[in-house]
């Protein structure tokens, strides 16, 4: 099926998310849509999928204009979508999720579960997806969940498959598998629209590349284009893809964790006997696929959860039983994994968010009263220093872009003298320009002698920052390696291979 988009425009109030987009997807091609977060890729796809109504322009399928009232219409027309955040019901089985919306029944509305299972098995076999129709979604790994999403789209007879940032949650091995699946789908005639901001993937699998910036198509490129060229098209200026830094062997251990074990509220052992140390003036990167215990480990270091066993020492002092306030006061800087959840208060202004963990100090308060002038002065200073793009210091943080929200969090955490910096996913959902800036600031903090602990699921980030890399898998640190370890080997470790196998 040939998909043609002509002059598609979407406005939200005065904001134009998509401006006169033209795009042609030929049958059986993998068309990459490259752009930064917030460039308008998702808006465009949501219009294609019937979730949003275009303000102007039209979508043609095999030359015939379409008018989608909802996702049901798009599905019926042969457009399937795998969303960035999976659209799967966690307490349903694979088969139930696949049949949802177009259930086969035995009459009288009674579900025909056997037919659904059979369909899942057939599609799973045909495209080598290895999915068990009776598994509960909440019990299977994200990589498999994604394949369930693909089966869901294929079960609806999708001729055009939209993959929205499909690699964000996968291990390098799973990414390779996904690319294999994409090639297989292409060979069987399905067109794929592959949305990403990762240049490596685009070059590996794309037939055609369209770059979007600020809601507009800024150009197309063949997959042979260099990463630097693509990055420049995407950001609008040349960017340094790697932070220049010298690897260092750190000094004395500043933060030492011994035999940390954490049991989550559901009774699962999520961190298992983890020990490591971070030395002053080095960056320890913790690599691993999302959900292997990193979140809980980091929270236990700050005192947001109490470890069920083990000891955390800061410069030799036991802080295992400290709460977050004490830990922050001891000189730990903390950039949380999900900034909107525990990084800032969205409805508070930039000015207020910049002193969220400092307002108690003499600098910003006198008794019960806040020193508002000092807080404003601080805000002006930080906004300039960290290049936070906000209209005024009074603007609520929720209305800033993701990159600038993250800069607010970073600026706040960096405005105290730190012994240890713990940053989890420091650049998630942040544009390329801001990534560059945030990385430079982290390295500068390291060079001042701070012990830095970075948790990231992005290998690029781990490589860019780390002096040593610890790999977490299934609640354990399975290996600690140097940053010149090849990517494939790190990928194997992240997937649970034991060190001997990988060596």
């Amino acid at each position: 099926m040939r998909l043609e988009i002509k002059g598609l425009t979407k406005r939200f109030g005065s904001f134009t998310a998509n401006d006169q987009i033209d795009l042609v997807i030929e049958p059986g091609e993998i068309h990459c849509l490259l752009g930064e977060n917030g460039a308008g890729k998702s808006t465009l796809m949501n219009m294609l999928y019937g979730l949003l109504t275009p303000t102007e322009g039209e979508i043609l399928l095999d030359g015939a204009p379409t008018d989608f009232q909802g996702p049901g219409d798009a599905l019926a027309a042969g457009i399937g979508m795998v969303h960035q955040h999976f659209m799967l019901v966690p307490v349903f089985t694979v088969a139930e999720n696949v049949m949802l919306g177009h259930e086969k029944t035995r009459g009288a509305g009674i579900l025909n579960r056997e037919a659904a299972r059979k369909q899942v098995r057939e599609l799973s076999e045909r495209y080598q997806l290895h999915v068990d129709p009776d598994a509960l979604i909440e019990d299977i790994p994200v990589g498999v969940q994604q394949r369930v999403e693909i089966i869901k789209a294929l079960a609806g007879n999708a001729k055009i498959l939209i993959l929205d940032e499909p690699t964000a949650v996968l291990t390098p091995q799973e990414i390779d598998e996904l690319m294999g699946i994409m090639r297989e789908l292409k060979a069987q005639g399905t067109s794929i629209i592959f949305i990403t901001h990762k240049l490596r993937e685009v070059k590996a699998v794309g037939d055609k590349i369209t770059v979007i910036r600020r809601g507009k198509v800024v150009g197309t490129a063949p997959p042979t284009a260099s990463e630097a060229e693509l990055a420049e098209m995407m950001v609008g200026r040349s960017v340094e893809l790697a932070v220049s830094k010298e690897n260092k062997i750190g000094g004395d251990a500043v933060l030492r964790a011994s035999n940390i074990t954490v049991v989550d509220p559901r009774g699962h052992l999520v961190v298992k006997d983890v020990s490591f140390e971070v030395r002053g003036g080095e960056v320890l990167g913790i690599a691993g696929v999302q959900g292997n215990g990193q979140t809980e480990l980091i929270k236990s270091l700050l005192g947001l959860v109490k470890p069920d066993a083990g000891k955390i020492e800061l410069e030799g002092k036991d802080i295992s039983r400290h709460g977050p306030r004490q830990s922050l006061a001891e000189g730990i800087g903390y950039v949380p994994e999900d900034r909107s959840h525990d990084g800032y208060v969205g409805s508070f202004s930039v000015r207020e968010n910049l002193v969220l963990d400092l307002y108690r100090t003499k600098e910003f308060s006198a008794g019960p009263a806040l020193k508002l002038d000092a807080i404003t002065a601080n805000a002006k200073h930080r906004i300039e220093e960290f290049d936070i793009r906000t209209e005024t210091p009074e603007t609520p943080v929720a209305s800033l872009s993701g990159g600038n929200q993250q800069k607010v969090v970073i600026a706040r955490e960096f405005s105290r003298p730190l012994k240890v910096l713990i940053a989890s996913q420091p650049t998630r959902g942040v544009d390329v320009g801001s990534i560059e800036f945030i990385h430079k600031r982290i390295i500068r903090e390291r060079d001042q002698g701070t012990a830095v602990l970075i948790v990231s699921t992005e290998l690029d980030e781990i490589y860019a920052l780390s002096d040593r890399i610890a790999v977490m898998y299934d609640g354990r640190i399975v290996a600690t390696v140097s940053p010149d370890t090849p990517r494939e080997q790190l990928g194997l470790l992240m997937a649970g291979a034991t060190p001997e196998v990988s060596a």
Partner: protein, 446 residues
């Protein structure tokens, strides 16, 4: 060659799991020990307080000259209860208390033992000249539980679709009022309806009222995204207010034709009602009770075996996922809430069609107990129905013990079902997981 700085247990075959006993598990054991300890102490106290263990029971039919209560000694029952509890306590102390089905069976046994020991104490040594006999708890339990089961089914349907329904009490009171009015009106004014079917007409009135309140809930919650708990509470107050007001508007000379409902007649189910002990109380009931029996499996089939049910549960768990496969989230929620209204209305109608004229605030918080049954039954129609039966049982126990005089303080007795509700919801059920999107309005961007 890679520089592996710290190869962790490189030669060890498989790292062993660190031995940390889960805190939730420890809490469970401590809780069990405390509860069983209290139960055991109470049972021993009950036994020691009995001077003369002779009690009597009357399980078949009313007391007549031929049908006299049978005397028996309560001692074996008291000691059996103590023995069961001791076994359970030992198992808990050794952390060998069974889980899943075994645990439920043992807990039920302990509960039955406690009930027995308590009854022996309560009925032994009568304070007055007249010695009341122990009678079957089943008929009263069923009668009281009917409304609660219907209410709980309404709650399950709504909450599975992601709409919190605090308004069950409001649906009850409206259903009770219109059940009475419809039944009375049919008797007095519609000659075409045979007298047996007049209360059925009343049931229809209850359904309309329940669906009406449900429609208000859906309208505010789904269309205007008003906080569902707030809407629910407001609808309860509204239900109380409007029915009191309408009751006051009935002229005194019209009372006989508008608030004098024909009651539901007892219909004995052939064969089944002849089963000894349980046949008569279970199958010698009225139509509404049989509708209740059928409604529980019906709702189960609807929710878990049909296309509609799959969709309802999907919009209650992950509405966006449902939307992306073309399911109309709000329409599905509307359907579930309105269908819930049918059941809640029937539950309301049972108040007047079982007992007589409508009186203001006669539903006495049973709608909230139904809500507790939803939670205790883990949002499952069958579980909720059993929880509702438990509350009905306790309410009935209160009624039965009321005639015993001053042995059990009356005020404490009337608080019993509510006390049990709090304990059940707060502690006993452990961790329960509501539908993920329960109470969250689904707002589509355009």
């Amino acid at each position: 060659m890679t520089d592996v700085l710290t190869p962790p247990a490189a030669t060890a075959p498989e790292p062993s799991e660190p031995q940390v006993r889960d805190r939730a598990d420890v809490r469970r054991q401590v809780k069990l020990l405390m509860v069983l300890g209290i139960v055991l102490l109470a049972e021993i106290w009950f036994k020691l307080k009995i001077d003369d263990p002779q009690v009597s029971h009357l399980f078949k039919g009313p007391r007549t000259l031929e049908n006299q209560p049978v005397e028996f000694s309560g001692t074996p029952i008291s000691w059996t209860a103590v023995a069961i509890t001791v076994v359970a306590l030992l198992l808990a102390a050794l952390n060998r208390y069974p889980r899943r089905v075994g645990g439920v069976v043992l807990s039920v046994l302990v509960g039955l033992g406690f009930y027995g020991a308590f009854l022996m104490w309560a009925y032994a040594d009568p304070s007055g000249a007249f010695a009341p006999a122990i009678t079957s708890p089943i008929p009263g339990t069923i009668r009281i539980a009917t409304a609660i089961v219907f209410g709980a089914l309404a709650g399950v349907l709504c909450e599975r679709a992601g709409v919190v329904n605090i308004a069950i009490e409001g649906q009850f009171i409206a259903g009770a009022f219109f059940g009475s009015v419809f039944s009375s009106f049919a008797v007095a004014n519609i000659a075409a309806i045979p007298i047996f079917w007049c209360p059925v007409f009343g049931m229809l009135g209850g359904i309309l009222a329940g669906v009406g309140v449900a429609a208000l809930l859906a309208f505010f919650a789904l269309r205007y995204h008003v906080d569902q708990v707030v809407v629910g509470v407001v609808l309860v107050a509204f239900g109380y207010g409007i029915t009191s007001f309408l009751l006051g508007q009935i002229p005194s000379d019209q009372k006989a034709t508008l608030n004098n409902p024909q009651l539901l007649e007892t219909v004995e189910i052939p064969v089944l009602h002849k089963i000894p002990y349980i046949g008569e109380p279970l199958f010698g009931q009225n139509l509404l009770v049989y509708v209740m029996y059928l409604s529980v499996p019906l709702v189960w089939v609807l929710l878990f075996q049909t296309r509609w049910g799959l969709r309802v549960r999907s919009v209650g768990e992950h509405p966006k996922a449902a939307d992306t496969v073309g399911i109309n989230v709000n329409r599905t929620r509307w359907q579930a809430v309105l269908l819930g209204g049918v059941f809640a209305g029937l539950g309301g109608a049972s108040f007047t069609l079982n007992t007589g004229a409508f009186d203001k605030e006669m539903t006495a918080g049973f709608g909230f107990i139904a809500l507790a049954a939803v939670i205790m039954g883990r949002w499952h129609p069958v579980g909720a129905a059993f929880a509702a039966l438990l509350f009905g049982f306790l309410q009935n126990l209160k009624d039965q013990l009321g005639i015993l005089g001053d042995k059990v303080p009356g005020d404490l007795l009337s608080a019993l079902p509510y006390l049990a509700t709090i304990i059940a919801v707060a502690g006993f059920i452990g961790r329960v997981r509501p539908p993920a999107a329960d109470g969250q309005p689904y707002i589509k961007s355009d």
